[in-house]
């Protein structure tokens, strides 16, 4: 097991170091990397649920919950601090995750996915229709917050939020890896492979899935809060089903066999979008679609799986 994990951990370390250093040379990368890291945190949550064999098509609801927590604070209380936003965003989405989770963990597979989708669309329409509170489709601006009482110029702030995102991403990555290696994480995988046996060992499969779901919602909320701060806005789009699809897309792109798949996928996704959008205007979705087809056909276990496949091919050659 450890032999399988270690090379990926090396790649992960290189990636995290690169996202700390590279933006120092290219200023536009600060926001790009911050977005990659923030979305990677959300996708960690998707990968967690994939361990139990469940795909949520509504996880953008937690992403939006985190984002709107920061936005509402700015609109109704004013001011704000990055640390405060992240703590509040994490708490509100975890609580929301617990409430939704109590319903959805009773279902599996397509029913699980669709029920998540339904909950997320309810939230999305509330954000759209309650114009008086949410400004509807226009969304709410999130003014640049301070960090522990310190204010920054826009130029400095993009680096501040990058390093905050990086710190949280590293902690979340480490935490999720520990979780997947722990008894609870193994039980989450057991929900996928044999729920009956798990129950006959005296463990409630629903409870195991609920714990995973709340953690996953928590990660979604923190990622959403970060993106709202990075982009300085929260819109109903954050909770729309295409956003949920994007997270699942990134998880498939990166591969769910290892927590790092979340960041590998997010890096690929955001880079293609960043550069394709700059050079090819409206065709970036087309390019992403083509990338996904290639991944599904030639690397069904995602970018992370490529490494394993290459490793095996090398072994077989000897």
């Amino acid at each position: 097991m450890s032999g399988r994990v270690k090379p990926v951990t090396t790649i992960a370390t290189i990636f995290f170091l690169a996202s700390a250093v590279a933006p120092l040379f290219v200023a536009s990368w600060a926001t790009l990397f911050a977005l990659i890291l923030a979305k990677g945190i959300v996708v960690l949550g998707i990968i967690l649920l994939l361990q139990a064999g469940q795909v949520s098509f509504g996880h953008a609801m937690f992403f939006a919950t985190g984002a709107y927590t920061a936005a509402f604070w700015g609109k109704y209380v004013g001011g704000g601090d990055i640390v405060l936003f992240i703590v509040l965003g994490g708490i509100t989405s975890a609580v929301f995750g617990l409430i939704v989770g109590l319903f959805v963990v009773r279902y599996r597979e397509i029913f699980f996915g669709m029920l998540n989708l339904a909950f997320s669309m309810v939230l999305w329409s509330l954000l759209e229709k309650m114009f008086h509170y949410t400004n509807g489709a226009d969304g709410i601006r999130v003014p640049r917050p301070a960090l522990l009482g310190l204010s920054f110029t826009p130029e400095t702030f993009q680096y501040v939020i990058l390093y905050v995102s990086l710190l949280i991403a590293v902690v979340a990555f480490y935490g999720v890896q520990r979780y997947l290696d722990s008894p609870l994480g193994h039980m989450l995988r057991a929900v996928k492979s044999n729920e009956t046996r798990l129950e006959y060992l005296g463990t409630s499969a629903r409870r195991v899935l609920l714990i995973g779901y709340v953690i996953s919602a928590f990660l979604g909320g923190i990622g959403g809060t970060l993106v709202a701060i990075i982009q300085q806005i929260a819109t109903p789009e954050f909770g729309f089903w295409t956003k949920s699809g994007e997270f699942v897309f990134i998880a498939i792109l990166g591969g769910s066999a290892h927590a790092f798949g979340a960041f590998a996928g997010a890096a690929m996704f955001e880079c293609v979008r960043f550069y394709a959008a700059a050079h090819l205007a409206d065709t970036w979705q087309l390019i992403l679609g083509a990338v996904l087809i290639v991944i599904i056909l030639y690397a069904p276990n995602g970018l992370i799986g490529l490494r394993q496949r290459y490793g095996q091919a090398k072994q077989g050659g000897h």
Binding site: S182, H186, S193, Y200, L201, G202, I211
Partner: protein, 247 residues
């Protein structure tokens, strides 16, 4: 009179027109290996399903150590000390044999950690001992999926033993195993049960196995218990020989 561990009284259940249990009364005594025999469809597995809470009887009650367990959830009954091994082994196929065992150990301990590594559980050496006891220690680091059927059955039983049960219910522990291996598996199994002081109830079709390994035999026929006794008594009964064994 030995202590009664599990006691079933007046258990009835029917599936449409099929009567799978029609007033089952049975006491399982502490320390015994009780074999359940009977033709296909007599309701043997149904009895195990009811005893472990998988099915709810339409009438009757089951007590375990004097406590009512009728229609409790399987996981509640498991926690009380009744473990189950399956006719088709129920393992976590994508995980290693040791990981399977440690999941069972973590389940028994309750409130599993989400941060400390599974492999750091102090039960590791105890699980190794159990795997050794049923003779599959060799496979500890192999994925359950890679094991041959016979070995999977033993792991399935080891998983049940990892729960430190008082009573183990087994559905055809030697089915799907080559007849040459049957004796070996049953030898391993009965000595492991004796060593762990686990009472057992096992459904079996092979009369040789019953004669060799059971202390008592209960004969099932069309949802009723036709006869209970020692293997010698039961196998000598002309009605049992004719209707169940088919001689």
């Amino acid at each position: 009179m030995a202590n009664v561990l599990l006691s079933a009284k007046g258990i009835k259940i029917r599936f449409g027109g099929v009567v799978a249990a029609d007033g089952i009364d049975l006491d399982v005594l502490q320390g015994e290996n009780l074999a359940i025999i009977g033709p296909n469809g007599a309701g043997k597995t149904t009895f195990l399903n009811i005893s472990t809470g998988y099915l709810r009887p339409q009438a009757g009650s089951i007590t375990f150590l004097g406590q009512e367990i009728t229609a409790q959830l399987p996981r509640t009954i498991t926690k009380l000390g009744i473990a189950r091994a399956f006719q088709i082994p129920q393992l976590f196929l994508d995980q290693t044999v040791m990981e399977n065992m440690l999941i069972a150990a973590a389940s028994r301990l309750g409130s599993p950690s989400g941060f400390r590594a599974l492999s750091a559980l102090p039960e590791l050496s105890e699980m190794e001992r159990l795997l050794d006891l049923v003779g599959v220690k060799l496979y500890a680091s192999r994925k359950a999926r890679e094991l041959p059927e016979g070995q999977r059955k033993l792991v399935d039983i080891a998983l049940a033993l990892a729960l430190k049960p008082r009573l183990l219910l087994m559905d055809e522990p030697t089915s799907g195993v080559a007849s040459a291996e049957k004796l070996e598996i049953m030898d391993i199994l009965t000595s492991a049960l004796a060593k762990e002081k686990v009472t057992s109830v096992f459904v079996e079709h092979d009369m040789d196995m019953v004669e060799r390994y059971a202390h008592r035999v209960a004969v099932w026929n069309v949802g009723k218990i036709q006869k209970v006794g020692t293997p010698a008594e039961v196998l000598a009964d002309p009605k049992v020989r004719e209707q169940v064994i088919g001689i």
